[in-house]
Symmetry: C2
Subunit: 344 residues, 2 copies
DNA sequence: CCTGCCTGAGAAAGCGTTTTCTCAGTTCGC
DNA sequence: GCGAACTGAGAAAACGCTTTCTCAGGCAGG
């Protein structure tokens, strides 16, 4: 016959009545304030236990001005990279007693800032993951989103740490690896045009071309998923390249699948490389040569940065840059003699 | 020079002052209450726009008794199945203006009920995904979690819709398919012992054995990830089975990878099947025969059920059962002559 | 024995909304 | 032309908690 306040749920008032004290005292006890007589505290605790009282977090949030929740907005929850970031973030935050609220923008860049704003208002901080919005828009809304940390994107706005993977260096490492294997005609199967990480890859390849004038690098349009790779087979063959750098592992897998259907051998006829080293990359046949990104760790670091901001520690490094690690597997091998374009 | 209340953020009071009205009126305007003079409303809207006023959701939640947020607790955010459910749920909920808060129990079943309780208190409803806790515990806490919907788990507790995939039927379909291909010795590479969906598969196989006495079905211990499958190669070979039903696609992929390393051909020597039809299943070599589960749709349905509960519609069906669809691909083929056990 | 300090706990003021209550000022009907 | 019904908007209560303010009572010191 637990008495209830009007709302039907058990509140601080109920336990106050039951323990014969004021609700202020109940609050003190629940929050470990030691200015309370041990006997009274015990009585309150007993009453709380008996009533199975659990403080209402909303009331608590309003009073304390914090929610113990952080938000993350991702462009596409179906993308393994973002899933991994979410996982790392969620785990790290959970260890500090924070929960995470997710928002998926479904690659609609115009929704991002609204979504981000809404999420931010409900949370103590925000992680913006590879936002597709323009630099101008990002800079404009960044202050209203503080505490904010950026992943795979940078901004001029102050006090916004950003964690970026050095995709530029990564593609250069991969390209270098292919050249070492004797490939002189490479092709890059690009990612989504609005993706900043694609931009970094392109810049990396420019640098690579400058340093290796003897190597031919063809740029091909693309995307970020399986189908992109699968549909790119013709373009890849037409390029005459023997070493293909796919935008990411998904694209590489799609490409390998397409090449396989054409009866071509990887890496016998063509070497294919990916990027990211998603868990599946190890298990493709042939196993995929790729650049491993410590992506879960990225999520974890994002939390650490955000935590510093929330706690106003202020002495934190403004961000950091993650180096991919070349992961050589079976999908890359010695170059054949250059093929003529448009091979059967 | 936007004036601020003590907290630093712009509140309803600031708008009220600027528009020269009471904050009650501001609230009325913001919520589309038409008992406000159009002129006054316009003035308020102008003030709100100029101050970029955004209502504080926490205060709103407290007053309204709802958060427009739902929670989901999953045993392992790294599992593609749960990722897909999360995605479906998140998308469907977003369409109705709800956000989702995630909680990952990391397969620690003792944490589940605490996590669930905490999540629930911050949200308007909860989705419990394949909980690992005991039936007794589940039944006990279910009422305190209402509105609650269960995925891949059932309970006696009232008013708890549950969405389950008919794994029992699924394995029977797969087994039937293998038998049609001439396999007479099958093996089942089981999943986590505490998993209810594993239990359903086992029951399905019992039914299958009863209906097909001439077929031998060996049960092998297992798990739910790549490595499980990879490490199971010896046990699989020792069983002498020519048709292997793996617990899920991940396990199947691990197994295929292990078999490949041993120089065995799939499906020439052994047929391997998975379960779930994760996106990658299409792209393994050979492409994986599996049972497709409309898993994203499951998340979507979960939202619909939960929404009905939140809105107290009450006339909803108590849950539903999803039928997997057999997806025949290249990893299953005609049986060879039965092999002797412990093949080289 | 009185002043002053300290301790413990109730009263009350937030936190930022929504919503009910209330009432002044209009409009309408007879 | 006066009471009744209506309209619009402010005052205040409510949501559930934390925290500051305040004060009664106990105790030590002079």
């Amino acid at each position: 016959m637990a008495r209830k306040s009007a709302s039907g749920r058990i509140g601080i008032a109920d336990v106050a009545v039951k323990a014969g004290v004021s609700h202020a005292t109940v609050s003190r006890v629940m929050n470990g304030n030691f200015t309370v007589d041990p006997d009274v505290a015990a009585r309150v605790r007993a009453a709380a236990a008996e009533l199975k009282y659990q403080p209402n977090p909303v009331g608590r949030s309003l009073a304390l001005g914090k929610t113990d929740t952080i938000g993350i907005v991702v462009p596409d929850l179906a993308n393994p990279t973002f899933q991994a970031i979410l996982r790392g973030l969620s785990r790290a935050a959970a260890q500090d007693g924070y929960r995470v609220l997710i928002a998926d923008s479904f690659e609609v860049s115009s929704e991002e800032s609204i979504l981000a704003g809404e999420a931010r208002r409900r949370c103590d901080g925000l992680v913006l993951c590879a936002p597709r919005m323009s630099d101008a828009e990002l800079t404009e809304i960044a202050p209203s989103l503080h505490p904010l940390v950026l992943i795979n994107r940078t901004t001029d706005a102050p006090d916004v740490p950003s964690l970026v993977v050095d995709y530029g260096q990564g593609v250069q490492d991969i390209a270098g690896h292919l050249v070492e294997l004797g490939h002189t005609r490479l092709a890059f199967l690009a990612g989504p045009p609005r993706s900043a990480s694609n931009g970094m890859r392109l810049k990396g390849l420019e640098a690579f071309k400058a340093a290796h004038p003897q190597v031919e690098v063809t740029m091909l349009e693309g995307g970020s998923d399986f189908d992109t790779g699968h549909e790119a087979v013709d373009a890849v063959l037409a390029s005459g390249a023997t070493g293909i750098l796919a935008f990411n592992d998904l694209v590489a897998m799609g490409l390998m699948s397409g090449l396989h259907e054409r009866g071509l051998d990887v890496p016998g006829d063509i070497s294919v490389t990916g990027f990211d080293d998603i868990p599946f990359a190890k298990y493709t046949t042939p196993a995929l040569t790729t650049a491993a990104v410590p992506i879960t760790e990225l999520g974890e670091q994002a939390w650490h940065q955000l935590r510093a901001l929330i706690r106003k520690e202020g002495n934190e490094v403004p961000g950091s840059r993650f180096q991919p690690r070349l992961e050589v597997r079976a999908s890359s091998g010695p170059a054949k003699a250059p093929r003529s374009a448009v091979h059967g």
